[in-house]
């Protein structure tokens, strides 16, 4: 069936017809031309908020980013004029919803430069995507005595599923150590390989320290030994251009809500040949071709891995989010965030009693730090009083905290909509914290 024809004939046709392909037209258009942070900030309604009378300075972007008006508008448009279940009915709304959902898949495919759209599986987030690989690939192909290589930097979501698998299969986890700057020791990584090595899981960018890991080189080394690699891209996709074909990763996982999209949606990219060999993760509707009580035939990829009704609105919202980011340009985003990171790093370095945790030369927009004599939670509560939102705690990366001998850190994480003035607010807030605890 031709979903586009159905769209044109539908009551919402006028809305849909007027839209530029891939870009929501209701609300502000994404910024084009030179990077202008003030124009970008105007797209984010939440940034106008005041916290306890102070302007919000949102520096917890590594936990979750904020949503621009075009994405909010896209969600509203979907719910007001396009919603029905997908892949089910012949009626107009179902055809529109299906067509928009699949259009979102193509947008994500372009965003990460995947070869084929069927290599893009919608999941509920990064955690769900990694668990899918653990169940679909790990449980089928990892055997007793096999070894899985992970790194000290991993988020708990790229540790715990593999521990569960190792326990079930009697496999073994090997861990790549890091140096004092927070960089992976690649020589040690290479030494961990042997004939029992069957899988590698590594994060692209550290959520706790900001280190950008040399995943392309690590993947090439693993592939030379026939070992597939999963990259946790949750902290990379929001900050840099991702090209899964150039990386040559076997799996790449990331979340929508860190990418200016909604919560409850994420992506697993997988090479088609691998996805086809894998067993389904969840059983249910949509992931089958035929069901009898004697035998069920699974659907083709990506549908084999999308059991049940997916978060349709969230997927379409994420599609609008990557359109928004692409219109600004990932290179421009990276450049602006580097300016913010470098400025904040220089400012913090000049403050006695402030220690930056994670000093790799190649970092994304994450700044973890401790303040002498002040617990991170006290730092967080006092900064909040100034309207500055940072994350405090172990950042779901307890092995990293252990490695650096701290129970927790405070973490400022930047997005492209943050300004230099907000870095100043953070630094002023930290001076205030030191004054209270002087």
């Amino acid at each position: 069936m031709n979903a586009n024809q159905a769209v044109l004939a539908s009551p919402s046709a006028s809305v849909l017809q007027s839209s530029t392909p891939g870009v929501a037209t209701t609300g502000r258009m994404p910024v084009m031309g030179p990077f202008d942070v003030e124009r970008i900030r105007a797209d984010f309604p939440i940034l106008q908020l005041r916290i306890d009378g102070k302007p919000l300075v949102y520096l917890d972007n590594a936990a979750s980013s904020q949503m621009p008006q075009p994405v909010i508008d896209r969600l509203v448009r979907y719910q007001t004029s396009e919603h029905a279940n997908i892949n089910r009915a012949v009626h107009t709304l179902s055809e529109i919803a299906t067509s928009e959902y699949e259009a979102a898949r193509r947008k994500l495919q372009r965003f990460i430069h995947a070869r084929e759209e069927r290599e893009v599986i919608f999941t509920s987030g990064t955690t769900d995507a990694i668990n899918l690989v653990m169940h679909g690939y790990g449980r089928r192909f990892i055997k007793a005595g096999d070894e899985i290589i992970l790194t000290t930097l991993e988020h708990h979501s790229n540790i715990v599923p593999w521990q569960m698998l190792a326990e079930e299969k009697d496999a073994r986890i090997r861990v790549v150590p890091v140096n004092d700057a927070g960089e992976l020791l690649i020589g040690e990584y290479e030494k961990l390989f042997n004939e029992r090595t069957k899988f590698v899981g590594v994060m692209h960018v550290s959520n706790a320290l900001g280190t950008v890991n040399p995943v392309k080189e690590m993947i090439a080394f693993a592939h030379a030994r026939g070992v597939p690699v999963l990259v946790d891209g949750a902290q990379a996709a929001p900050h840099m251009r991702v090209d899964v074909q150039d990386l040559d990763c076997d799996f790449y996982a990331f979340s929508g809500h860190k990418l200016c999209g909604p919560t409850g949606i994420g992506v697993l990219y997988g090479k088609a040949a691998l996805l086809e060999k894998m067993q389904p993760f969840k059983g249910g509707g949509d992931m089958i071709l035929s069901v009898t009580f004697e035998k069920t035939t699974y659907n083709t990829i990506p549908h084999k891995f999308e059991a049940g009704t997916p978060p349709i609105a969230a997927a379409i919202g994420l599609g609008a989010a990557v359109d928004y980011l692409s219109a600004i340009g990932m290179e421009a985003i990276t450049a602006h965030e580097h300016k913010l990171l470098n400025y904040a790093t220089e400012q913090m370095k000049s403050m006695p009693g402030v220690r930056i945790i994670g000093t790799a030369p190649n970092k994304a927009a994450v700044l973890s730090f401790t303040v002498d004599g002040v617990h991170p939670h006290d730092v967080g509560t006092l900064l909040n009083e100034e309207g500055v939102a940072v994350r405090t705690g172990h950042h779901c990366a307890q092995p990293v905290m252990q490695r650096f001998g701290v129970p927790a850190t405070s973490r400022a994480s930047f997005a492209f909509y943050n300004s230099m003035a907000e870095v100043d607010a953070l630094i002023a807030g930290l001076r205030g914290v030191q004054k209270v605890f002087a």
Partner: protein
């Protein structure tokens, strides 16, 4: 909205900087370690009961200012008290931290009222409670306790450790 800074009052900052009864006891009759797994903080409480009376008490640990000051002021408050009176104070402190205590009604809270502000900071309530929860565990010969899961004092009443 709450004035968050009110929480970091002089008395709390002072107890954080110069905690009272900080250290270990050689021959403790009761002791326990309390963990807050959400932030990695932990605090140990040791005491000597002499005929149901707290003869001496000490604490140690890694924690934020709220937790450390709470522990310091707790040890000062319960030293010399009977176990029963200390248990009453534990209940009152927990009630205060969770906004359930009427500070105008008769109570033993006294200077501990400086912690009343945590009731407006849900993420910090457990910081203030941890030492008291740990003291209760020590009284009941529970060697290790936690602010989470089954031992969460917010879900299972602290009196039923």
């Amino acid at each position: 909205m709450a004035d968050y800074k009110a929480l970091y009052q002089e008395v709390i900052l002072d107890h954080n900087k110069k905690p009272r009864n900080y250290g270990t006891l050689e021959h403790a009759s009761h002791h326990a370690v309390g963990h807050n797994p959400l932030c990695g903080d932990h605090i140990s409480v040791a005491l000597n009961l002499d005929r149901e009376c707290i003869e001496c008490i000490a604490f140690q640990g890694e924690s934020c200012a709220i937790c450390k000051a709470s522990a310091s002021m707790m040890t000062a408050a319960v030293k010399g008290k009977t176990r029963v009176d200390a248990e009453t104070l534990i209940q009152e402190f927990l009630a205060m931290a969770t906004g359930k205590l009427d500070l105008d009604s008769p109570n033993q809270i006294g200077r501990l009222a400086v912690f009343a502000g945590v009731r407006d900071l849900p993420t910090r309530v457990k910081c203030a409670i941890l030492p008291w929860h740990t003291l209760h565990a020590a009284f009941n010969s529970v060697a290790s306790t936690s602010t989470e899961a089954e031992q969460d004092p917010m879900h299972s009443p602290i009196g039923n450790a």
